[in-house]
Each structure stands twice: as structure tokens, then as C-alpha cells.
Amino acid sequence: MPRNHVLPRAVLIGLVAVLAASAWGLSATSSREFCLSCHEMSPQAEEQRWSSHALSADKKPVACAECHLPPGFGPRFVAVKIYSGLKDAVMHFFLPDGSQPGGGLIRAELQPQARRFVDDDNCLRCHRDLYKDARGEQAVSELGKIAHDSYLGKNGQARSNCAGCHRNLAHLPVFDRRLDANRAFAERIRKELTLEQARAEQNPNEHNQKEEALP
Amino acid sequence: MAVSRREFLRGSAAAVALSALGVPALGADAGGPEKWVKGVCRYCGTGCGVLVGVKGGKAVAVKGDPNNHNEGKLCQKGALLVPAVIYAKDRITDPMIRKGGKKSQLEKVSWDEALDFATKRFKAVIAESGPQAVAYYGSGQALTEESYLANKIWKAGLRSNNVDGNPRLCMASAVAGYLTSFGKDEPMGTYNDIDSASCFFIIGSNTSEAHPILFDRIARRKESAPDVKIIVVDPRRTNTARIADMHVPFKPGTDLALLNGMAHVIFRDELDNPSFMGRYTIVKKGAGEEATLEEYKRFVSEYTPEKVREITGVPAEDVVKMARMFAESPATISLWCMGINQRSKGVWANNLIHNLHLITGQIGRPGATPLSLTGQPNACGGVRDTGSLAHLLPAGRMVENEKHRNEMEDFWKVPRGTIQPKMGFHTVALFENMAAGKVQAVFIHCTNPAQTLPHLNKYTPALEKAFVAQTECFMDAETLKYADVVFPAAFWCETEGVYGCTERRYALTEQAIPPLGNSRPVIQVLLDFARGVGVDPALIPYKNAADIWEEWRTLSKQGPYNFYGITRERLKKESGIKWPCPDETHPGTNLRYVRGDDPLVPKDHPNRIFFYGSPTGKATIWLRPHQPPFEPADADYPFVLTTGRVIDQWHTATMTGKVPELHRAYPAAFVEINPEDAKKLNIKNGDQVILETRRDKMAFPARITDTCMPGLVFCPFFDKNKLVNRLFHDAVDAASKEPEYKICATKVYKQA
């Protein structure tokens, strides 16, 4: 019967189309440009420019998804995409304070949530050896060795993931700038923001060059 | 205020639980102590009141006494006394003897055998070489009754004036400072003055680590009144300087110039108080020759801010600023401790601080007073006031004053001439004479000289040579290595007795628990020892500490240390009373020497202040020139080494070292090095560093911090594995005989 041929084939084509569309949608909504298309993310983007995680080891800009989305395209990735996609959409369209550069988000409440979804695998992709320093060159400090032993369960058992201890690596809200541990990062922000302000005052037309040349 | 769901649930559960127990939630509950026994903290001279919780005959808890000056607060040392220190595994619970001489081991014996062994030896020494060959070396941590008793036994019983104690190493310069400036020892202010002061002049004191509860009080005063100013003068930028408006580092040992410089500015800028000086002061110089105020002003005119800057390194404008703050504030209180006292010119430094108060009239008013901080819990009440030092007799009397000797002989009902007219050996001289064999037997009570004497390599042979009878509670005391007889002492709240702290407050520690094992109260040990050595029993007819207190209280009635009103009953009911206190209805004295406050000042006295301790009724301004320390840094030994305390460890750590939390905070000694110096010497944090002085050398792990100024290094002295005092010399102040622990010259280099 002709109907029996058409329906399963239609369903198949439909399925393939949906899958293809999903795949395209998933990857398109994971790009750096897409994340930053919402103005709520502008403070984070600005801070990341001056962070230790602005560029990877081979001098390429680090995209948001490299840390904030699980690697690969497996169930973890899809789950986070759905979860944060829904959350971001709700926040973006229903949050009252759209006039603020940060979208009126309470960053102190965001931080623990963001840390939850930073997979350890993302960190380990570059920082493979936990007994070497961040650049992988020299041995880690004695305290670092004790801490990483604890993370691996060899000396006690740390409760958190990588991001739970190593905080403020890419983003540094104002209330975290007073912490001694973030002194270098805070200094850079302070210096660069002052420079930017000075430049903006001199050349008012060039102030939109934010997303360009990274250091 | 957002309350998370979890918090709300938790809170509700707690509320239900609390309401089940009944409101208030605090107070004795089913699992806590049966009773709380009042006492005084075993540690520093702040003298915080404590309550020891007792359950089933054991001490199970401790908390602050809300009715004492500390209002329930305790620092970590006091808060962790129970149970770790009392029930430490190495508590000595049985008497011990070295039967085979110094090289043999200590063996446990009975009390009779130990007392016999000791008294036989003391008697033999006295018989052969006379009473000057035996000595008592006591402590500012001993109970008042113990020190008074030992003093009497030795000076009136054995007729030896060789009674000295570790306050000689700690407060002697402050004593002599008060004596020469005001006529009698002990401060005229109290802790109440902290609550009224508007300027704090803190010099030579790391109050935040040595007297934490006083530091708390100072910080709260500053917080409560916005105009309060704090000046911290210290070559180290310690934690105390965190609350300071001005931290003034200066070249170690040059503070006399700095203090004279402040006086200079006070006169130059007409901030002095001529009316006060005219009415209440005389001027002296040298060994006590009279001088005039004009002479003093001329003397001080040489210490211009520029000259002071040359000597001390303090910028001239800072000298001026300090002086102005001191003089212009409505009420200025000075606080100082070992940085000023443990110096070869410690007495002079004390005088210069008193000078500043006298020329500005910053004295005798709430908040205006020079308050010397005492290190130990009972140096004041136990040793200074009872006169348990080689040159003193009770209540400010002097051995070498015939009238004073006669007064004591009459009171103690011994024939005139019993007390030797010549003073005994002060601590350093005592140990020198022990090493030389002139003093052959010593009774050491409640102190650890094998770790705390200066120039240890010179004086430990003294302990090896002489016969040492010692009371001690803990097996890890360094001095035990040299003891021939060890008497286990009842520790702290295992016996009853009085402590007198910095602010002239006498407070009673009541017995909370029985003495551990076979340990005994030292009163009993001293009585048995005295009887065994042949002291007339009529001299020592006491059954317990309360009897001794009764006698001492009665003795005080006659003079300026009058505390006759501080009866045992009052001590039990109240949380300490400040003397002078002449009768039982008197509440105690805050402003000493002040008419209306001090009961010893006649109510109709013409002046508001009466320094009745001084023969003229006036205080003395002293001309004291700057002199450098005994061993300043030089080309060969380019660094200055200083020692001091850390908040978690008390003295030689025989007590605090038993508390895991405190031990863990400072398990071992270190050397603090300034980052500039560390860079030049290529020393990194944690490196082993050798400190080499003219006497010895020792390795310490380096701690790179900007606490010390360049050119200065610091080591704590609590670690028995790093006997820092081996590195120090034993130069003493000529008047007080207190050693200069604070400054010696050292080489600093990385261990190869």
C-alpha cells in the first residue's frame, strides 16, 4: 500500500531532519559568540580577557563551552544543554533588571551553580598531570601535592571537583577581588579597566572594540 | 535575609530541641559539670578569672569567670587548660631521686625518702659551709602563700638571703623603675583605665600575643570611641600593630633616645604641665643626686627630633607626632613589657616612660597612667609584694635596711639580728656562684632555669654541680635533667592559693580536684622540708595556705601594701580584689595615690595626689641619657637577634605543649627574617638557617615575613629542642640585675 511506504519513510526523514537540526542547534548554541550574544554575560566576558584562562597553551582564545559544557556530545552534554538552555531562556526573558550590564544577575548565587557544571574532564584536557604545576613544567608545590592527593583519594578525600577549590580562574566578580588568592587577577582587571577608561575618554568612537584583540 | 529551606528545617528542629530543654538554652544540663569552681588562669599576668567545671572528681571543662575583669573571656591557652594539661600523660605523680649522682636515672621513691634525701644534703651543706651556701630559686607562677613561706623559711629560718626567682629575669627592671620613680613598686592604675584612655602608648610589648585579653579590651575601647589613638612602638610589626594608628619601628636598643626625644618635643611645643611638675615632682640624676627641672630641660633639649632620627631611624616628624599624640590626648595610658624590661638599661627605660607621664600630668586620672604589664600570673602578688627576692623583705622592705629587718624580725618573732644584713645572690649571681661551688644546694620551685636562664652554656654547669631539689609537674621540663630530687607538685586547681596579677588584683584559685597521684601541695612540701632541715617549728606553725594568708594579710596592715581587708572569705566570695584594701568593707582601689580613691591617702590631704611611697611624697623625674645595648650589631655580627613569645605557647611549653591544638600551631621554633634580608642571603621560606653568636650557633627553619625590620631576626623561646638562650649573653642591668634577653648580635647564613 502506498501509505505504508510513505509513513515510515517520512518518519525516518523527519527523524534525520530533527537530528540534524538538533546537532546543528546544539553546536550553534555552544559557540562563544552565541553565549556572549546575551548582554548578561558581558561582565564575565570582560573579566575572562584578563584572566589566566583567556588563551589556551597554543594561544587560542578559550571558548565558554570548553569549560562550562561537558566534553563530547554524550548524554551529559545534552542534559546540560537542555538544563542551562531552559534556565538561560527563562532568566533572559523574565528577569526584571535588563538595564544592568550584568543583567541584574546575583553572581554570588550563580557561582556554585556554575561550578557544578564545570566538568573535571574539561580541566584535565589541558592540565593532565596533577603533580605538575599549571603549565605542566615544574613539580607542584608541597601543599599542592597534599591537596591533589586528597582529590584523588590518596590522602583523605576532597569533597569538591576541580572548580570547587580552584575558583575565580576565569571570572572575578567585584566581591571576590579582595581575596588574597585573587590578587594578581584583580590587579590586572584594575589596571586594564583603568587603561580602557582612559582610552575610551580619549577616543569615544573606539569603545566598541571589546571583543577584539586579546592580550 | 534569605533563609534557605535547609536552614529553616534545621533551625526548626533546633528550636524544638531547645524548647524541650527549656529556656534559657544555656546553663548546666544533664551532660555537663556538677559544679564550677572559681579560680585564676594558670598562665599570663593578665590574670583572667576562670571557672573549672568538675564532674565525678575530675576537671572536665573550663570557662571564663563572668565576674572577674575578663568578663568571661579567655584566650586559647586558658580555654584549653582542661583537660589536656591537668591530665597530661607525663604528669609527675611520684617523688624521684637520682641516687647515683647526676649521671644516673631518676627513680621513683616515697615522700619520706625524697624529703630525707634532700634535707640531709641541705643540712650537711649548711653545717659545712654555712647558710649562704644554700639557695631558693622561686617563681612568679608559684602561689603567694608558697613564696611568702619560702621567703620566711630562708631569711628568718635558715638565715640565708639567697632567695630569688624568675621575676628577676622578667620584672625586676619594672620594679626598680617604679621604686625609683614613685618610691614603691606596683602600678597605680588598673585595667579600668583601658576603658577611659584616649591614647594608648604601647612600647616593647606584643600585647596581642602576650596579653591577649588585654589586647581585646584595648581593641574594643578603640572600636567604641572613634578618637582613640593607638601608638605601637616596636622594631617588629607584630599583630598588635594591626589596630595601631601609628606603628613606629626603631633600631633595637635605641628607645631611650626615642623617649627622651618625645620629652624634648613636649617641652619644645609647650605641651608640658608645669603646675603638675611643680606640685608633684622632684628631679634626680645619676645615682640619686638632686637636680632641677631646668637641668632636666637642658638635658632633654639635646634630643632634638633630628638627633633622635640619627640614633633610632625614626623619622623626625614621627617623633613629633608621637609626642603630640601622647601629650595632647585627654588621657594617655602607657603599656610595656619585656621589650623595655629585659634590657641592660631597663630601669632607665622604665624611668623615661614614667617621666613622660609626669611632665604631662598624664597620671592619677582615669585612663592616664603608666601601666607596666606583668608577664607571669603571680610575679606581683607572690614575689614582688612578699619581697621574695635577694634584696627584699615583705611589703617593700629592703634587706639592707636595719629598720626594715628589725620590723620583720619583730613581726616574725625572731631575735633581732636573725636576718642577715647583706643581700643574697640575685639570679645571675646565684648561678655564677653555683658554678663556682660557693652555693652548693638549691631548691628550685615552679620554674625551668635550664631553658630560661640567659647564656645557658655558662650556667647549666651550675646545675650540674650543685645539689638540685626541684618541684615540678611535667616530665619534659629541661631542668629535670639536672635534678637530684624531684617533688611532684599539685598542679594549679589541685590546691588552693592566691595569685596577684598586673592590676594589683589578688584573686583566689580554689581547690577543684584532689592532687593527682602522689603529688602534694607545695605548701606541705615546704613545711616538711623546713622541719627536716631544722627550721624552728614555731616559725612555721601553719596547717594550710589559709593560715599563711592570714599572717601575710596581717603583716600588710602596717604599710603601703595594706590589703588587710582582703580576707580569705572575701576572696572566696568575690572574683579578686584590688589592693590597697585596708578593711573588709573596702571595695578595693582603682586609682592608687589619689585622694578619695586610695584609702591610704588621708581624706584631708592638701593635694589630690600623694605619692606616699616616696619620702618626699613626690614622684621623681630622672635624667637618663641614651645608652646603646650591651651587644649591638657590628661588622662581624651584623644582625640583631631578639626573642619573645607567641600566643599559643607559654614560656617553655611544658603546659601548652600538651594541648594538641596549641602544639600544632607552633610545634617548633623558627627564625623570622625580613624579605629584604632573605633575598640578600639567598634564603627561602623553610630553609635551614644558622644563627651564630659569640656564644653558640644553632639552626632554625626560616620564616620569611615582613614582621621584623631589616637587620633584625626573631626566634621564640618555647622550644626545648632549640634552646635559644644558648645564643644570648648574660649582661644585666646594673640596678635591677635583669638580663638583656632582647638584644644580642648574630650572624645569619643559610645552612650549607
Binding site: G156 | K63, Q76, R664
Partner: protein
């Protein structure tokens, strides 16, 4: 009726899927590991909790250092005990108010109880790591806390 049943079934399935989805999110991304955390053992030379905790829990450590307890040098172990549990103070990430705070603050606590009745926790107004030198205690509470 069959249609209604089908609808109900469909709704139940949808709910189950959604519920399952959120369950998966909370289990797969726990934030802190479910296994009981055990404090690492450090050699004795790391006597100062602060050295490590300035890096591991920077907010709590720095809050403490800038607070009254920090200025007064009331160190970590005095309230929290030692992580190997061998100290005299029982090891607790959140020390008990009656056992620990009362040792020094009992008069003030009694006063509070008399004035305001029993409170749930002192720290809702007096955050023990954040009590600054120059503000009233109840103004001190900051929005963020270190949490694991």
C-alpha cells in the same frame, strides 16, 4: 475513555521523563561529592591551617583574618579542633555553640537569651568568620559564603 487514558498515560510519561531528567541532573552534577569528605593529613610543619586554607577556602580564611577573631588571633583549631580528631576540641566544621562559643562568650549569650529569648543560631546575626572590626555585628552579613 481510551483517549483519556491515553492522555493520562502520555502525561504521566512526560512527567516521569521530566522528573527523571532533573534527577539525572542533580545526580550527575552533584557539586560536592556524595562520599564523605576526609581531611588530608599534613606533616606537622604545616601547623597553620591558614596556609592551605587561604588557597582552598579563601573566603572563610580571609574573612577570619579580617574579622575580630582574626585580629585577636583566635585560631582555627581553637574552635574547630584538629582534623585528625586527636585534639581536645572535637573536630567540627561547624562548632557547637554551647560547647565552644560559650567557653568565652557565655555572659553575652546569657544576656541575649534574657533579652530576646532563645535564638536558633548565633551566626544568623553574628557570623563568626565575618565579624569585622568596625561595624556592628548584625550589619556584617555578606551575601556569599564559602560552601562545599
Amino acid at each position: 475513555m481510551a483517549a483519556k487514558k491515553k492522555l493520562l498515560l502520555f502525561l504521566a510519561l512526560a512527567l516521569a521523563l521530566v522528573g527523571g531528567f532533573f534527577l539525572y541532573i542533580s545526580l550527575a552534577f552533584p557539586g560536592s561529592r556524595c562520599e564523605a569528605a576526609k581531611h588530608p593529613e599534613a606533616p606537622e610543619k604545616y601547623s597553620d591551617c591558614l596556609e592551605c586554607h587561604l588557597k582552598v577556602t579563601p573566603m572563610a580564611a580571609q574573612d577570619w583574618r579580617e574579622s575580630k577573631h582574626g585580629v585577636l588571633l583566635v585560631k582555627c583549631a581553637v574552635c574547630h579542633g584538629l582534623p585528625d580528631g586527636k585534639g581536645t576540641v572535637p573536630f567540627a566544621a561547624k562548632p557547637g555553640v554551647r560547647e565552644i562559643c560559650a567557653r568565652c562568650h557565655e555572659p553575652a549569650m546569657k544576656q541575649m537569651v534574657e533579652k530576646y529569648g532563645a535564638r536558633l543560631e548565633c551566626e544568623s546575626c553574628h557570623p563568626h568568620h565575618q565579624n569585622p572590626m568596625h561595624r556592628k555585628a548584625f550589619e556584617a552579613k555578606k551575601p556569599s559564603k564559602t560552601s562545599f
